[in-house]
């Protein structure tokens, strides 16, 4: 079976500034990839190249069997939902959804009705975008992209302009819609939680390439390098070769051979029904957030790092080799 998308050795540079460096990945039909990385790392450039709005300096992109590297955005069968809904303000909701479908010859009234039902906006079909809320507009933008029946759907931080409540609601809703319809998608975000919700595979993007391309579980169990550890905040980076899962660090000694470090309690808060201590570990010059089992007024604390849970990047799980 051919891949939905195959990206081979894609590079992009603006002058001496390398944005993408020999990037490779491929997705099977129906796969969902989240690309997450810090702002300005080149995620959007990658998406624009995949959509055909920018062209790579070198490398090839295949959609199915077809090499689309040099094809214009107009002729690629790719859908793109931007950060802003970018609905055409002079068209009604229905006309917006139909616009691309009519141009690509995939228009049918049934499909439009089906999409309007899917986005729960059937009643707004004759309204103009300015009459809709931000979340509704983004749903219409998604329906408009899906109406063209793209081979792959690209989403560039589509929820970033929404308020947190609406954002959370739309995340689940969009993910369900993509799953139901078996749509191959690439979702770009700088939000780690969003990346995990929207993709089965997560590409941690930095420095022109993927630092790790794996499932959320793998990233949690075996982060590939110090960048991944620092970006996801699931572990404490002890040095450039070693890390320890945060859930293994405690404020009381439970095992022999634990490494003890001095920490200063900066603040306490509550999250997911648990007390959380925000501490500063001077030895590592790092701030951490750890579950605090008992109330504490402030000042110094000892944190205990069990030696058998200190892992090195090149070792497999369960083989702590920290000396």
């Amino acid at each position: 079976m051919s891949k939905a998308i195959e990206v081979n050795n894609i590079s992009k540079a603006f002058g001496s500034n390398v944005i993408l460096d020999q990037l490779n990945f491929q997705l099977n039909p129906g796969d969902k990839l989240s690309i997450v990385g810090p702002s300005g790392s080149g995620k959007t450039t990658l998406l624009r190249i995949l959509a055909g709005l920018d062209h790579p300096s070198s490398g090839t992109i295949k959609l199915g069997e077809k090499d689309v590297t040099h094809l214009d955005a107009r002729t690629r069968k790719v859908g793109l939902v931007f950060q802003q809904p970018l609905l055409f303000p002079h068209m009604t909701v229905e006309e917006n959804i139909d616009y691309g479908a009519r141009l690509t010859g995939t228009f049918s009234r049934e499909k439009t009705s089906d999409l309007l039902t899917a986005i729960n906006l059937t009643e707004t079909r004759t309204q103009f975008p300015s009459e809709l809320s931000g979340g509704q507009q983004q749903r219409v933008a998604l329906a408009r992209a899906l109406a063209t029946e793209p081979e792959i759907l690209l989403l560039d931080e589509p929820f970033s302009s929404l308020d947190p409540g609406m954002r959370q609601e739309l995340r689940y809703w969009v993910r369900d819609l993509l799953d139901e319809r078996g749509i191959t998608s690439i979702f770009v975000t700088h939000d780690r939680e969003e990346a995990m919700l929207m993709g089965d595979t997560i590409g941690v993007f930095y420095n022109g390439g993927f630092q790790q391309l794996a499932s959320a579980e793998t990233i949690l169990q075996s982060p590939a390098n110090p960048f991944v550890v620092q970006f996801f905040d699931n572990h404490l980076l002890i040095d450039q070769d070693h890390y320890v899962p945060l859930n293994k660090i405690s404020f009381s000694s439970q095992a022999t051979g634990a490494r003890v470090m001095k920490a200063v309690l900066l603040q306490t808060s509550v999250a997911n029904g648990e007390r959380v201590a925000h501490v500063y570990v001077e030895e590592l010059d790092k701030r951490l957030s750890l579950r605090l089992p008992f109330p504490h007024d402030g000042g110094s604390l000892d944190i205990f790092i069990p030696a058998n849970h200190i892992y090195s990047f090149d070792s497999s799980r369960g083989a702590g080799r920290y000396e």
């Binding site: 959509a51 709005l53 955005a73 055409f88 691309g100 141009l103 004759t126 992209a145």
Partner: protein, 265 residues
């Protein structure tokens, strides 16, 4: 609601009432407040106006020249405005300054130089020459207006149309033009009014062979008869209005125009 009423009061005072007074004056004898004169309805002022043998030639000449000036303004304004707003290229700021430069130099000075050029290329004393010289005081404004309109429209909106599969022509007709309507309206009024008001440069380049409304209008300034002046002003206001109605009609033919027959809930 309060602001709406305030808007109507201000608009009524500053725009509607002067036009009403002008229309009234054009069909009445001169009248002054507290002079015990009666306001008598008359059409003599229009009779004087229509008695001018050049009136129709000048009116049609002004409309034709105005229409072509408008067409060139659309062509140059939309292309240059789009390039300045959406594309990044070396020397863009310089290019923008150069395109706006004609506004900084007195039009008469430009017209003198252009007159020599027109004579050399055989366009002096022709309506084409006059049309071209009318571009000098109008094109910079059009470029500025379309530049602003395209900046507001934004590159992402155009890219969205591309992603959805629109060809360049389709994208221009279905997305760009409908969203440029307000700019098109502004350019229409501004261009026609500026073109219609040019006396000196039309006289220099037209050499008297090309007759436009101001050339007929100016001799009437000596009459000091407010009724005749009002009648001429009403006549003068008609071409821009006609052109505006024509353009508005054309704009309503654009795809996705908001017309009464469009399906609304």
């Amino acid at each position: 609601m309060k602001y709406k009423i305030l808007f109507y009061i201000i608009a009524g005072l500053l725009f509607v009432s002067p036009v009403f007074v002008l229309l009234l004056q054009s069909i009445t004898t001169p009248w002054r407040f507290q002079t015990a004169q009666e306001m008598n309805v008359q059409l003599k002022s229009f009779a004087v106006l229509w008695s001018d043998p050049n009136l129709w030639t000048a009116t049609i000449g002004s409309i034709v020249i105005g229409a072509f000036v408008l067409l060139f303004n659309f062509l140059i304004g939309i292309t240059a405005g789009k390039a300045l707003a959406l594309y990044s290229f070396k020397g863009r700021t310089l290019m923008e300054a150069l395109l706006l430069a004609p506004l900084l130099i007195p039009v008469l000075a430009v017209a003198m130089g252009l007159h020599l050029l027109m004579i050399r290329i055989g366009l002096a004393d022709t309506w084409i020459g006059v049309t071209l010289v009318h571009l000098v005081p109008t094109v910079p404004y059009s470029i500025k207006i379309f530049h602003h309109a395209y900046s507001q429209l934004g590159k992402p909106m155009i890219e969205q149309a591309q992603i959805l599969g629109a060809s360049e022509r389709k994208q221009f007709l279905t997305v760009e033009l409908p969203l440029l309507k307000n700019a098109i309206r502004s350019v229409t009024f501004l261009t026609i009014v500026i073109s219609l008001s040019q006396y000196a440069i039309t006289a220099i380049i037209g050499g008297g062979s090309v007759v436009t409304l101001p050339m007929v209008f100016f001799p009437f300034l000596d009459t000091a008869n407010p009724s005749i002046m009002a009648a001429f002003s009403v006549w003068f206001a008609a071409p821009p209005l006609l052109m505006y109605i024509l353009i508005e009609g054309l704009l309503s033919l654009l795809p996705y125009s908001q017309t009464p027959w469009r399906n609304r809930a």
